[in-house]
């Protein structure tokens, strides 16, 4: 089959304008265009045109859609031995509107459409599946060469190609079915990869294990039940033995006898007890008789002594009464003496008090006198002070200022005098100046108009006015005069005197104030008030004895009184003691008397007393006899009691045995009932039945597991053998391809040996003895191996019938120059019988390929 034209519209990059390649040639075709041209889209368009179902809405059909929108259309013109055809596919993204047409060329008559068309196309392509076929195996998409091996679909195609080579693989389809049935059956029992039990097998094994533990558990339960049964049986036997009638009867009889014996013993015991009580009563009666006898004897003795005491008491009373009289007289005398002393002391005391009061009044008189004097002095002081204060009212004179003013006058005068003419009478005389006589030798200062008379001659001298000096002096003199006048002084001395006396007055006033304060610190009013009080007081008497005279007399009287008082108290004590004694003696005598009377009335006269004594003695004797009798009676009885005690002890023992047996039986029965209950509960569940069932189930389950295991082994064996046979077959059928590929690989890669595994992954390339696995091969080598296998398959396909075009999207991207050359040779060899279409973006790489260049144009309009 050969492709002659490809047209696309609305497919991926190619929009409404579309693209068409109309010049495909039989040999090698090359479409060299830069990246992003859409070569891969064209590659996909070829696949879609030949294999895709336009009605399918899947990832691959959706991937054809252009980004700009629109429904992809693909047309492929092809020719085969059957003729020339056009395939037209419209991909609408849904069932509606999508369509496939197969047209005859050049008439373009429709041969088939839809499924019929698709089936026809598939037939022409020799496709095993409707989506892929030999072309799918041969077409190497960009980058696909790096993925190791073939895809599942491709592998199937390869197997198909190969199996037709091998006659013995006629039943190949059956092998697949048998294998998948075997796997399916085995998968019911185990996981194929791990061999781990699963499904029925796992269930069976689990059931066995569960049942094994069930059986163990139930065995345990049955064992428990069996143990419990033995225990209950033992208990039951013991219970039967204990409640065995003969034995029970024997014990009962023994007990009855013991009870009788014990009863007799009890009677003896009671008798003894009664006798013991009687003995005690006899002893008590004896004691009473003895007590009475003793009592009587004591009374008689007492009477005797009381009678003796009666006389002694009377004598003692008389003596005591005498003593009482003496003490009474002594007491009277002491009292009188003390009273006299008391009177004297009282008189003196009163006088002493009077004197003391009088002397206080005298002291008040003296104080009043002193206060009057003080008052007078204070008055004087206060008057003087008043006077001084008047003086001090005048202001103080500033003596320093005065001195200054005087100095100023003197200075002014001196200055004036120094300038003035001096007139001196040297000799002769008399002469006057201004009416006053001039003495010889004494110079006179002249000022103003000076009238000099000598001898009748009168002369006038006018001293010219020395104005300034005169005014200064006048001013100073004026100031001084004013000062003095203000001070009220005639002159400076007078002023000093005035000032001095003022200062003295100041000092006097201070002194007077201090004195006043000292004399009347609380003021004059206080003195006057005290004076008033004192004036109101009583006047002292003048004729009383002085205190100091009375005091010794009073002390003396006090001492005498104290002594008299002490004497009196002593006398009182003696008297009291005597009086007490007398009372006591009187009481003792009276008591004794009363006792005597009582005893006499009680005991009677002498004869009566003797009778009483004899009776008491008789009673004691009788009591002693009675007691002796009871004692011997008791002794006899106690012997019986000792024997009876043995009978009682035996009864007790037998009763204890019976009680214990009863207890044991009761607890035994309780235990038995409880255990039996447990046993019955276990039995009710039917543990044995369950165990039997479980054992049976386990047996069945084990058989089932064995059966399954046998089945598993058989299936596994079958599968292993199929695998083994298949491996052998593959080796045989792959051989033709290998025979094609091996020399090419030797040329291209220098590889000496090449193997592929079942998925067509290269297993090893032995080059110079070096073995390489798929993972160790370079990308280029893998790419070239992928190309080689495709060439191999293409040759194989061609040899079997119609050759299919080999389409390569950017192959040899990684090949070096040498390998490219070898590859070109190989492609040319193949191109003799097979159409080859190459898409590439490396135009120069393929310059030397000598390929037919494909041209592109727009989708034709018609």
């Amino acid at each position: 089959m050969k492709i002659e034209a490809l047209r696309v519209r609305n497919l991926r990059k190619f929009g409404a304008k579309g693209l068409a390649i109309e010049n495909f040639a039989p040999g090698i075709n090359l479409l060299a265009r830069p990246n992003e041209f859409g070569k891969s889209a064209l590659f996909d368009a070829l696949r879609a045109g030949l294999f895709f179902k336009p009605t399918a809405n899947n990832r691959e059909t959706r991937a054809l859609k252009p980004e700009a929108g629109g429904d992809p259309l693909v047309e492929i013109d092809l020719s085969s031995q059957q003729g020339s055809f056009r395939v037209r596919k419209h991909f609408m993204g849904s069932r509606k509107g999508s369509g496939t047409q197969l047209l005859e060329r050049p008439t373009l008559r429709e041969l088939a459409r839809e499924d019929a068309a698709i089936a026809k196309i598939a037939e022409m392509l020799g496709a095993a599946s409707p989506t892929e076929g030999t072309p799918g195996l041969l077409w190497l998409a960009q980058g696909e060469g790096f993925a190791p091996g073939l895809s599942g679909e491709q592998r199937k195609t390869a197997d198909g190609l190969l199996s037709s080579e091998v006659t013995e693989a006629a039943m190949g389809g059956d092998v697949g079915r048998v294998r998948s049935r075997t796997e399916a059956e085995l998968q019911k029992l185990e996981t194929l990869k791990t061999g781990k039990a699963t499904g029925e097998m796992a269930t069976a094994l689990k059931t066995v294990s569960t049942l094994e533990s069930d059986v163990a558990e139930l065995e345990q339960k049955v064992r428990l039940s069996s143990d419990l049964r033995s225990e209950v049986e033992g208990l039951s036997k013991r219970e039967a033995r204990l409640s065995e009638p003969k034995e029970t009867e024997r014990r009962r009889e023994e007990l009855r006898e013991a009870r009788l014996a014990a009863k007799e013993a009890e009677l003896d015991l009671q008798k003894a007890s009664h006798t013991r009580e009687q003995l005690a009563a006899a002893e008590a009666a004896l004691q009473t008789a003895r007590d009475k006898q003793t009592e009587l004897q004591a009374s008689l003795k007492e009477l005797e002594s009381k009678e003796k005491a009666r006389g002694m008491a009377a004598a003692a009373l008389t003596a005591v009464q005498d003593d009482l009289g003496h003490t009474e007289a002594a007491l009277k005398a002491a009292s009188e003496k003390r009273e006299g002393e008391q009177a004297r002391h009282d008189t003196l005391s009163r006088e002493f008090a009077e004197a003391r009061r009088n002397e206080a009044l005298e002291r008040e008189q003296a104080e009043a006198e002193r206060l009057r004097e003080t008052k007078e002095r204070v008055d004087t002081v206060m008057k003087d002070a008043q006077r001084l204060r008047e003086v001090l009212k005048a202001p103080a004179i500033d003596l320093a200022q005065l001195a200054k003013l005087e100095t100023a006058v003197l200075r002014a005068k001196a200055a004036e005098e120094a300038e003035a003419p001096v007139l001196t009478l040297e000799e002769g005389g008399p002469a006057t100046l201004n009416g006053e006589d001039l003495r010889a030798g004494e110079g006179q200062t002249l000022s103003g108009s000076a009238a000099i008379e000598i001898g009748g001659t009168r002369l006038t001298v006018d001293v010219p006015d020395r104005g300034n000096l005169a005014r200064s002096r006048a001013t100073a003199e004026g100031e001084l005069a004013a000062f003095l006048s203000a001070a009220g002084a005639k002159n400076a001395e007078d002023a000093a005197e005035i000032e001095r006396s003022r200062k003295a007055a100041e000092a006097d006033l201070k002194r007077l104030d201090a004195e006043r304060k000292r004399l009347a610190p609380d003021g004059l009013g206080a003195i006057e008030a005290r004076l008033e009080t004192l004036a109101a007081a009583e006047q002292p008497a003048g004729d009383l004895r002085r205190l100091e005279d009375i005091e010794p007399l009073l002390d003396e009287a006090k001492t005498a009184l104290d002594a008299a008082s002490a004497d009196e108290r002593r006398a009182q004590a003696f008297h009291k003691a005597a009086s007490d004694k007398a009372l006591e003696a009187k009481f003792a005598a009276a008591t004794n008397e009363k006792d005597c009377e009582r005893l006499l009335s009680q005991l009677g006269d002498e004869a009566a007393r003797a009778g009483k004594l004899a009776a008491a003695e008789d009673a004691v004797l009788a009591g002693e006899r009675a007691r002796g009798a009871r004692a011997s009676e008791l002794e006899a009885l106690e012997k019986n009691v000792a024997a009876g005690q043995a009978a009682t002890t035996r009864l007790k023992r037998l009763e204890e045995v019976e009680r214990k047996l009863g207890q044991e039986l009761s607890s035994l029965r309780e235990n038995l009932a409880q255990k039996r209950g447990q046993l019955r509960a276990l039995d009710a569940d039917g543990a044995e039945e369950q165990l039997a069932a479980a054992v049976e189930l386990l047996e069945a389950a084990s058989q089932r597991a064995e059966q399954l295991e046998e089945r598993r082994k058989a299936l596994r064996m079958l599968l292993t053998l199929i695998d083994d046979e298949e491996a052998q077959r593959r080796d045989r059928v792959v051989e033709p391809v290998m025979a094609t590929i091996r020399p090419m690989a030797a040329r291209l890669l220098g590889a000496e040996a090449l193997r592929f595994d079942s998925e067509w992954r290269p297993e090893a390339v032995d080059r110079q003895g070096l073995a390489l696995g798929d993972a160790q091969l370079s990308g280029g080598t893998r790419e070239q191996l992928a190309l080689l296998t495709r060439i191999g398959f293409a040759k194989l396909a061609a040899s079997q019938g119609e050759p299919m075009p080999l389409i390569l999207d950017d192959p040899l991207s990684y090949a070096d120059d040498d390998r490219i050359k070898v590859s070109f040779d190989l492609l040319h060899e193949l191109a003799q019988e097979t159409q080859i279409i190459i898409f590439s973006c490396h135009e120069q790489v393929f310059d030397e390929l000598g390929a037919h260049r494909l041209e592109t144009e727009a989708f034709p309009e018609n």
Partner: protein
């Protein structure tokens, strides 16, 4: 006509049948419980009053309350009959065991527990002399006690015992086997035996009735009860009582046999088999195609019967060239088949049958 009664044994009540699926298990248990009604109907039909059960009334020493009470209720319902139950080796009268429980529960008036080895009067002048099992392993011939049992002069003595005999001892201790001349020695008119599940004569006037409802794969006359007339003690009448049939079958094949033909009598085409349990052991050699036919046939039969247990380990499959050509041509599968046929491994035969089956379908 002498005194007539029904002789039965080995009811094995409470048997679990656990290996079977729930439905069949229920049916089998029901069938066991129905023994009582079946026997009651037979007794009435035959005009007998007394039903003597010669041991193994229950399957276990400690059955569940359910297994105890339900049969008692059914016997109570058959109040016109007298049931005489004797402990056997499966249900001995050990202390604190099921018989004591029965006594505690209180048995119906028409149910008599034969727990002591002494004569019990059935009717005026008719005594049953039981040899009950007191423990699991009494270690002696219990029926020897019957020799010493005293009954009034001229009384009719019917023995009731449970054990094997010299003929059928299976695994029993020989000390416990019933003496063959026991009926004579003990002056018995008839000795009713239990233990052997099939109906069988065991000596002069001595019979096993077998179990009235089969419970195991053994072709030994299971599923009967005996109506005994003391005037004809050597000829008790056998009556079928079984609801289920337990069939044990074997078939040995040779190449060339038609397996379907050979198994036709085990799986009769014209009979309902839903109450038949089959244990089939096949052996011999079959060709691949015959083996395939056998497998298909057995699968069909499995759907018809109540239960099919197949033991086919003894069967091997032979391949011949004709088989292989027909089935596998000369390709890969044929190689596999030939290798399997030649393999000494035990699973190879089954693997071959799988191959046959997968290749055919």
């Amino acid at each position: 006509m002498g005194f007539r009664f029904l002789h039965t044994a080995d009811w094995q009540l409470g048997r679990p049948f656990a290996r079977f699926d729930a439905e069949l298990r229920g049916q089998l248990k029901d069938a066991r419980l129905s023994i009582i009604e079946t026997l009651a109907a037979l007794a009435r039909e035959e005009g007998v009053t007394h039903v003597l059960v010669a041991g193994d009334v229950w399957d276990q020493m400690a059955p569940s309350d359910q297994s105890l009470r339900r049969p008692l209720d059914r016997m109570r319902a058959a109040s016109d009959l007298q049931f005489w139950l004797m402990p056997g080796n499966h249900d001995p009268a050990g202390a604190e065991g099921l018989w004591q429980r029965l006594q505690e529960m209180g048995v119906p008036e028409n149910v008599h527990l034969l727990l002591e080895a002494r004569p019990h009067q059935l009717e005026e002048g008719v005594f049953v002399l039981p040899a009950p099992w007191p423990t699991k392993r009494p270690g002696r011939d219990l029926s020897a006690d019957l020799d010493r049992m005293e009954t009034p002069e001229g009384a009719l003595r019917i023995g009731l015992a449970h054990a094997g005999t010299e003929d059928i001892k299976e695994n029993a201790e020989s000390a416990m086997l019933i003496a063959p001349d026991r009926a004579d020695r003990a002056g018995l008119r008839y000795l009713a035996l239990g233990d052997w599940h099939g109906m069988k004569r065991a000596g002069e006037r001595t019979f096993y009735s077998g179990t009235p409802e089969p419970d195991r794969f053994r072709n030994n006359n299971q599923g009967y009860a005996l109506i005994v007339d003391t005037d004809q003690p050597d000829a008790p009448q056998r009556h079928a009582t079984a609801q289920f049939r337990w069939r044990m079958a074997e078939a040995a094949f040779l190449p060339g046999d038609d397996p379907v033909q050979k198994l036709a009598d085990i799986f009769p085409a014209d009979a309902a088999l839903d109450r038949t349990l089959v244990r089939l052991e096949i052996s011999g050699v079959l060709s691949l195609s015959e083996s395939g036919a056998l497998t298909r046939f057995l699968e069909e039969q499995r759907a018809r019967v109540a239960y099919l247990r197949l033991k086919d380990q003894g069967l091997s499959v032979e391949t011949d060239a004709r088989d292989l050509d027909e089935l596998l041509g000369d390709g890969l599968l044929r190689n596999v088949a030939e290798r399997l046929a030649a393999s000494p491994e035990s699973e190879a035969s089954l693997a071959l049958r799988y191959l046959d089956s997968f290749a055919r379908s």
